[in-house]
Symmetry: D2
Subunit: 259 residues, 4 copies
């Protein structure tokens, strides 16, 4: 696969230089035309997936272009005190990759995935824009943002509270900006709106495990079918390396009618 | 010159991945042992100086290693709502470049420079840590941060006010964290503390011109010698390309007794 | 401007990973649709133009996308003992940039330029594929490759002879593969084939100066109009920084009818 | 781990710009002080290990700094028709990483590994400079260079012969420049010179499998102890991802007395 890393000025981010990593099919090969938006976790940047996993190899094996943006520690949100990373991700980025790389993917072959904060971002994107994606995956996702504080160790609660205020504002009214995944599920069920296929992975040793079973149960209760898989794993990159390959393989097999 | 770009985890930034660009002398050549911290402006990143100017060529001509960090839109501040970029720049970065590149520069041959927001950062660093630098340069610097709002066009004042609150807090008490350059000058004069040589460049067409003459006059009033140069120039990269070369040439000549 | 650096597998180079640097217009701005292939000199790589000059700034000012490939020390040739960099440059690279960046430039707005070995490459490309380019520029170009050995200091002649053998073969029959610029000029004059506009820059202190005046005279003798400019300059990057901006400005002015 | 990618001018390569990728321990963490030179295969470059495997993650887990140079298609040789990549690798590169990154590793904690052509390079380095390395690993290595032609499919033999001539010269006298691993083994046995620990991995489905069992048997015959492991695997990156992690884990365990 070909890979490019670079910088451009983002309108949504106030004109700021932002960085982007992409993996593209070799120009001389005809490969399946799938596109995957791959989202990073808290404290990561756009290079982290290529550095901690073998994702470029899987892109080759299973036939994906991959787009890896940078969103700072924004929780894929238009921050209460900070930049509009949600607008950047959901509106500007697709235009940017169309302009720079000629990527205009068909929703039927467009995917989104991410780990931890990026798992939340992945489902947030899929549930707010179901018409843009064929499937979405969360690996050890921080899926219940409104309860994040409860999952934080006592001695780090003050710092976490402060961070959450910066991102979501003092009142953390997640619903008002499409940020609560549970509410979004409710709304979709009521509207009987078709959803992308959801793939949820989590390790049983993960500190976010209970948050993940809660979301799984919420989907079940609302009769929203989803792929759910758990393993004896923690909140670590060796697991996410396994997850991303498994997700890409499953997508590839599903399209071949093997899943 | 050799050049490297990369990423590492910053403690001051909460463990976040941060990006760094450096220019180093070729390993097989003996070049003067000067080190320059080169700071970016608002909405730029660590790559901007190498992209908009020929700074690597000047590093070769005048004998400098160059360190170019990323500080987001922080105004080189521990942000009221955001990350501790001041701590990162002033405390962690020197340790990081010592660890990664073996750079342990002598203060007598260490310099800092920047444009716009980075001009403010350069003088803020030099006036808070005069013992670390031989000289500091500001190119079209936003030197009077407390009056930035006045320099902002009416229709952008709301957005600017919001940005300043995020950076400096609602009360914007610059003095309390060593952020007001005018106060720092007063303090140094009273303490008769030796200061790095200050180099101030500004274009007469720059929207920050009055802010720059105000600071120049403040230095003069307080009997702090400084190099001041103005040209018919605007707030643009062709001028900063001229400024950085001129500053590096002047440092080089001064050390040879030519200035 | 946006900029990307990356790697892909080249068919012409036997499947080898090759590196590419590009500068593209910001996705949200409508800029003139000019494309410039910008070629490096001996011992350089695809990053050198961005590192030693402010070319990204000029791309913005004058409205160019820029493609900067890597060709090793090949003299833009399918090497006698080595890789097929000429095929890569002249046939594969346009397809690659079309695939990766959606760049399908109109010949009327496509340009090529380079310095030293890259000046030769630029004119070689323009004279072999005049239908692809509106103009070509050589800065201090090694335009008379067949006499390169004469321009080499006595104590380096052996090494140079060896290098030339590796590139061009023991007999160095430049004509047989379209490598002699003087012969190409003759052929074009006879065929009355329309040529791209040629821009030739050289410093009077350059060790390749006589080679450049020889080529200028050859063009004059054959009634091929060309822009020729010489300055008191040597074979150095400060001059090429001047040359590339001047060339881009002249192209921009010419299209506006100012030249 | 921190990671940097960049460019510098190499003396051994005639002053040419060469590219280098490194992975370094985070500046704020005390990690084991192991250094691994990690070598690429034919048609790869300095970025390939980070792109096709999760090597940065293993560097973190097992405590290694990693140096990844670029050697073109040179077979880690001072090429008959080309550049002196052997001199670059074996003499200049250690000085370069000492200069740029302050890396001056103790031979007792210095390692070398590579796949395919890089497996050959790894053992060539270890057998020519046993005093510099604690261990060396070959993954699917092209260990018997003198028989490479026999391993080449009939329809590609001409191209391969041509490539080998460019690298090793018409007579391919491997012995004369320390390039035949079998001869080196003989010499070491006679001289009873201590050798680095050798780790040899190969897949049974690999087209170089017989070459690898031949070398394994040669070591056995000469009473040189080595770790040998084979799996049902082909000449592919998923296997090398497994190999590099396994090698690093074994080194780590051996130092802890677990191996």
């Amino acid at each position: 696969m070909a890979t490019f890393h670079g910088h451009f000025s983002s309108v949504s981010l106030g004109g700021m230089q932002t960085s982007l990593q992409v993996i593209l099919p070799e120009h001389h090969l005809s490969t399946p035309n799938r596109t995957l938006y791959l989202l990073h976790g808290l404290n990561d940047n756009e290079t982290i997936w290529t550095r901690r996993t073998a994702v470029e190899r899987y892109a080759d094996t299973y036939g994906f272009s991959i787009i890896m943006p940078f969103v700072d520690t924004s929780y894929y949100t238009d921050m209460a005190y900070g930049k509009n990373y949600w607008t950047y991700l959901s509106e500007e980025l697709p235009k940017a990759v169309s302009s720079y790389f000629g990527l205009n993917p068909d929703p039927a072959s467009t995917y989104v995935a991410g780990h931890s904060m990026g798992g939340y971002g992945s489902f947030k994107l899929a549930l707010n824009h179901p018409e843009h994606f064929a499937a979405a995956a969360s690996f050890s996702g921080a899926l219940d943002v409104s309860s994040l504080l409860e999952y934080t160790p006592e001695d780090k609660k003050d710092q976490r509270r402060r961070s959450l205020n910066i991102i979501f504002g003092e009142n953390s009214d997640l619903d008002s900006f499409g940020g609560d995944l549970f509410t979004l599920v409710n709304q979709h069920q009521k509207a009987k709106r078709p959803l992308p296929n959801l793939y949820q992975f989590c390790g049983t040793e993960d500190y976010l495990y209970n948050m993940n079973t809660k979301f799984r149960d919420h989907l079940t209760t609302h009769n929203i079918p989803a792929y759910y898989e758990e393993s004896k794993a923690d909140h670590t990159w060796d697991y996410w390396d396994y997850c991303i390959e498994t997700f890409m393989r499953k997508i590839s097999e599903a399209e071949k009618g093997l899943d």
